[in-house]
Symmetry: C2
Subunit: 126 residues, 2 copies
Amino acid sequence: MSNIEEIAKQFVNGFFTGMSTNIQGLAAVYRPESVLTFESQKFEGAEAILGKLTSLPFKMSGHQLSTLDAQLASGDLLILVTGKLKVDEDENLINFVQNFKVSVTQGAGGEITGFVVKNDIFKLVY
Amino acid sequence: MSNIEEIAKQFVNGFFTGMSTNIQGLAAVYRPESVLTFESQKFEGAEAILGKLTSLPFKMSGHQLSTLDAQLASGDLLILVTGKLKVDEDENLINFVQNFKVSVTQGAGGEITGFVVKNDIFKLVY
């Protein structure tokens, strides 16, 4: 992976577009061994994770991404995203941070063919 | 590792005690392959990382830890910590988030014998 920040950005853009427009479509990036910790509650496997993401107590559609940092970690990408999101009808945006460990699948020519989220930790910061 | 939250807490307590009282002592948890991203600047290897940690533009001694979440990730611990810290002489505390991927070394009886930080991402959140 030559430019890990660019690849991380590609994943993050796809992920948050999914959160805004098609949460069910995110099922493609989770596996039975994926783990999500959402506000300190743990969900294991694609089904449990999607169950949580489709029943969030607030709209992710109002999110704004602020920063992205990425590192290589055991051959995967470790990504830390910070941003702000709209909670319910509240006009104030609340800071959040989300941390992913993502496996990048690549084709024979090195092109990105997909992403699998192995670890996902989401926290509101206030 | 039976209770990953407890083990993560043990690492985090040791790490932030080190940040407050003995930053040079933290050299023991970094290796040549360790990577720190500090406010989007990347430092590789124990020497570069310690160089950064010993020249921070603010005191970490005023930090307060708020939350800790941990998951298993490729046999290591993935830890996300949130907290607040004192920046310079400013009375207001600023939120920060720090993400670690930590290798836990254990003795024959399963007891923890040490920690190695492979990945470390620090971000102020404001």
